[in-house]
Amino acid sequence: MTADLHRQRLLKFLDTFSSGDVEGALAYCSDDVEFLANAPIDILPHMGHRHGKTEVREMWQTVHARYSDMRYEVPIIVAEDDKVAAMIRVHFRKSTNDRIVQFDIAAFYTFREGRIAHIREVLDTFDLVQQVLERDVAADLAAGTSEGD
């Protein structure tokens, strides 16, 4: 069944990506793969909108440079025809100070001829910004101190 093949392919893709094998992960994608994750790209430059393997490669290499170790779990995976949605819980270790960043991603994949042609990610970006900055942004906003420091 097509959906089962896509489900298995996605899980292999996630294993390959988290092992640090960027070229292996790209092999699961179409040449014109499109990636979109709504996020403040000034703060999280490795997200945003990418089109084609070259741009996606550059983004994933940045991710792997920033994080020395990646683990993930998939509590929910939903596959139908050429579409797969996955809730992914990721644990990244920061290269700079070994601290762990943990967050959940809602990821949506569309396959074309057996390869991933479109990736859409939605996540709690406010929480991710706080973890990346190691700073309580909500408290800053409440105190009106978002400027400067």
Binding site: D42, E80, K83, A106, D124, D127, L133
Partner: protein, 151 residues
């Protein structure tokens, strides 16, 4: 087919939720309804982890108080066994100043006995905070990111 029933149930829930039909929305949910909306609860105390379908009625009431118009459009929908996943584009018009907010919401629903048992929801929360404040926060924090990454 169970898959089609689940698809219809979730679509009925979303229609009822955004049209403000509390009774129908609640009727789509299991008594043990459990919801997690991934968002900063310091800023959105009505989100986060909630249990019980009374929360659905509360959410509809809160949104109706804050927004004069609430619309949704499905952008992605998949059904597999008891699970349904969606992306919706949501358009909200604020009641106090008529400003329009737009966000994409990703949701995972797990059904039991034809009703929604668990609900997991995600959105670009940083962007929504900026839209609500009417203020670009990225400049303020981008310098901090560069400092953090340089350490």
């Amino acid at each position: 087919m169970v898959k089609d029933l689940h698809r219809q149930r979730v679509l009925k829930f979303l229609d009822a939720y955004y049209s403000g039909d509390v009774d129908t929305a609640i009727a789509c949910c299991d008594d043990d309804f459990d919801s997690i909306t991934h968002a900063p609860i310091e800023l959105f105390p009505h989100l986060g982890h909630k249990h019980g379908k009374a929360w659905v009625a509360e959410m509809i009431r809160i949104q109706q108080q804050r927004y004069s118009s609430r619309k949704y459009e499905i952008r992605f929908l998949v059904v597999d066994g008891d699970n349904v996943a969606t992306i919706q584009q949501i358009t909200l018009r604020k009641g106090n100043d008529n400003r329009v907010l737009q966000l994409n919401v990703a949701e995972f629903f797990t059904l039991r006995g034809g009703r929604i048992l668990t609900h997991r929801s995600f959105f670009d929360s940083f962007d929504l905070v900026q839209q609500l404040l009417g203020q670009d926060l990225t400049d303020s924090f981008a310098a901090s990111v560069r400092d953090t990454l340089a350490r």
